[in-house]
Subunit: 290 residues, 4 copies
Amino acid sequence: MDVGFIGLGHMGTPIALNLLKAGHRVIVYNRTRSKAAALAAQGAQIAEQITDTCRGEVLITMLSDDAAVEDIMFRLGCLSALKPNGIHVSMSTISVALSERLTEAHRDAGQAYVAAPVFGRPDAAAAAKLFIVAGGADTVLTRCRPLFDAIGQKTFVISPQPSDATLVKLTGNFLVASVLESLGEAFALVRKSGIDPHRYLDIMTNSLFSAPVYKTYGSIIADEKYSTDGFKMSLALKDMRLALAAADAKTVPMPTASLIRDHLLEGVAQGEGDNDWSNLARLCARNAGL
Amino acid sequence: MDVGFIGLGHMGTPIALNLLKAGHRVIVYNRTRSKAAALAAQGAQIAEQITDTCRGEVLITMLSDDAAVEDIMFRLGCLSALKPNGIHVSMSTISVALSERLTEAHRDAGQAYVAAPVFGRPDAAAAAKLFIVAGGADTVLTRCRPLFDAIGQKTFVISPQPSDATLVKLTGNFLVASVLESLGEAFALVRKSGIDPHRYLDIMTNSLFSAPVYKTYGSIIADEKYSTDGFKMSLALKDMRLALAAADAKTVPMPTASLIRDHLLEGVAQGEGDNDWSNLARLCARNAGL
Amino acid sequence: MDVGFIGLGHMGTPIALNLLKAGHRVIVYNRTRSKAAALAAQGAQIAEQITDTCRGEVLITMLSDDAAVEDIMFRLGCLSALKPNGIHVSMSTISVALSERLTEAHRDAGQAYVAAPVFGRPDAAAAAKLFIVAGGADTVLTRCRPLFDAIGQKTFVISPQPSDATLVKLTGNFLVASVLESLGEAFALVRKSGIDPHRYLDIMTNSLFSAPVYKTYGSIIADEKYSTDGFKMSLALKDMRLALAAADAKTVPMPTASLIRDHLLEGVAQGEGDNDWSNLARLCARNAGL
Amino acid sequence: MDVGFIGLGHMGTPIALNLLKAGHRVIVYNRTRSKAAALAAQGAQIAEQITDTCRGEVLITMLSDDAAVEDIMFRLGCLSALKPNGIHVSMSTISVALSERLTEAHRDAGQAYVAAPVFGRPDAAAAAKLFIVAGGADTVLTRCRPLFDAIGQKTFVISPQPSDATLVKLTGNFLVASVLESLGEAFALVRKSGIDPHRYLDIMTNSLFSAPVYKTYGSIIADEKYSTDGFKMSLALKDMRLALAAADAKTVPMPTASLIRDHLLEGVAQGEGDNDWSNLARLCARNAGL
């Protein structure tokens, strides 16, 4: 397929690469041109203008926040440049409100909008092992299927409503963050009690908590090797903000999300915004005097 | 082996039954005699006096709280009735402080103390699929091994310090409770957003959250079938209290544990103390106006 | 002075009335015309068009939220209708961001913007006993002084930056809400302990807590007469949201504000949005099973 | 009157001094003898044995926690040394449970127990300006009146049940702590917003928050002079623990108390246990990156 791709960050780059590997023709754009150049070596075409990415059948965006997506689609003209019947696949984690607005805007323009956020860290993206949560019309999702197959291990269709996929992603990130926070608190106590954290982790992940999220982050916490380049605290903070905004719009109290938001804010205020969100656990340790 | 067993509740009964099935000679005691009678039909001997349970090599206690354990061991004479070199295997979830006190008391009496709390619900106990976390001297744990093999799918040895096993159990229950709370908040939002909760659960448990704890409790929450006879809110409240007490003793703030404690207290205050702790999620739903 | 006045709610009506009593010429506008009619009987002129309120020296707005203020100023033309050198005195509790935007917009239009939110309930407004927190240029505030004197018992000038007054008001409402929440929790315990709540209140307000906020709200809570028409829970929720947004913008964690926000959300979700925010204390009581 | 006095700390010393000044005969005891010596210079008699303090009509204890009170009354013999009809006036902030136990123990011994905790910092104690909250039988309180008059500006009788006074004190300290926490959060935002904290305090304490607690602590926070020797964080932590224990016993969730408890724990874990509890506000500032 002819695919435009905007947003070559930690996640976007390996995703675009896997599209190329699967034989798709990909035209890429990134604000920082050097990142696009790296992909060109792998066969990607580089867009001269950002709207050049909109000439194919599908435009994929993988950007950091609402502002970036709004800027590109509305101000820089990608919405109007996308051809009739073209599909915008938004993989960014954005607000439910913007997802709804994009659904409407693309519909009005005779185009289709798909929200397809992903679960997985950069290494999962590189291995084409992402989990994709897709929301959009069935016929449109069928057209996107070859792309999803190239980048993920599994695609879950949530509903024809794109913003449902956005909400699933936001609550999923909330659930991951709550694992980080609760593990952080538990490990702080375990450590101060003189118990071997690796032995502790071993027990937990081989009994009730045998899920990837506990294994991956549990290891980081037990090893105290927090400085991976996975997912920035500042972006996690943004996602908690969006989850809380979605919850507020539906009048749903989420006290655990509030607690985590406040801890992320504490981390960012103390200069850790660019560190991996597993640093939530380090914050727990520090607050315990460790 | 000759085993005494005190405490025939939801968990104790199937555990004692599995000991019998494995060929151990079990003498049981329960405050409510009818429960002991049911086990007698399966080959258990019924203790006339509570201290009759202390005549064998091992005494197992599976009681609901510190008060019950203290009462039986110190006031009703089980500590002094246990023979030299006898082993007290405490499977109850008790305080770290009492676990330390029992370690010392049994040592002073020339006996051995093992803390061996379990993870798993009554159905796992019936199926001999419990996870056992054991703390105690190696030689003593070796003697207990045939018993553990009869009742659990796996035994994790944490350290020679019995109270370490107690702490692992308490933090483990905290981690489960935090899963209940965070799932409860997420499902409330998912429901009020009009998303199918079963579809949502399916996505979560087939991607990052593929652990038993998410599958078991996620189903209860998605089905809204909270009234199982698993683990009472009032007992979960007790465990959060004990986790927080252990954390306080080590000067470790655990804000998520505090939040959950307060929600359990809210549930108990509203008359749900005897319901399964998955009702935490129902509380989240109710607080969201569902 | 010639004053335009938009927003004749619980607070706006008595304020406008006091301006009339002090001899100012007031032209009023309200979406619901009948409210304006009531003031006409007291000497107010009724605006035909909303922009008729902008013909005098000062336009006062007392509206419920950002959306209302934005609508009136930007979409319905009041910004452009205000004459050069005219002053817009915004008494509404709005976001810091909108306060900054209005400051700039009025400056660009050769006008002046003053943020002058007030502390006090409708009865204080009626008695001209409000506390006014004013932010704006000194010369501009001097021109507004006769108006402030007509409606309040005291005017505090915070700084030449209008949004500073907005922030003071938002944090002030946060402090009041935290009094409501903590009193609610304390009274729930006092009640369940069998202590006379009035005796309790008497002790507290005659020792360390001898401030109006404790006396006013303490009485409501001790009497359990929550259904006053003071300040709606839904508006309090809005203000906590704005305080948290301001704090987020400055990277300041405010966990108590988060907790209160979640409790207000709980109240609104349970159908109490239109009740006075003192119902926070009733929520505490209910969560304690009272 | 003949009065025994045990506990010559920051609060006990000025209180005992005021009793002497008012003409009472005071026999003092303190674990650290040098503190007693200082009072001897002012006319106090020094007890040889701790039980010598029990020879008069009234024994006053002003100790730091339950353990100290239990030790002195039960283990060191003060309960049995107090003469029939003697009164034990406990000014310490202790648990509701211990207050109830002492009530019973003294009743069984034919003595009387009065709980008379105080509000006020060391300077208020020195100036005989304490607020006393007294619980006990009317006739007994009448006998104590001359003592109360010598040390406080006002005595509030809560009920004949001594533990009611204990609970009032605990919830009072909770209310003060919640003022510290909420002021801490508000000032962190005010500071990061570039607003003058003294100007801010001035507005708040001259409008809705004109109570001593806001003035005293607000000044400390605005001045950032946290290192006063008022009330240790570690003792405040103890009091939140006791308030939460009392609330737990009555099944009352107090989420704000939990939040504050966790923050105090954080402060103590970070080495601030001996600092004044106003450091809660410094913690808020630090968590905001100030």
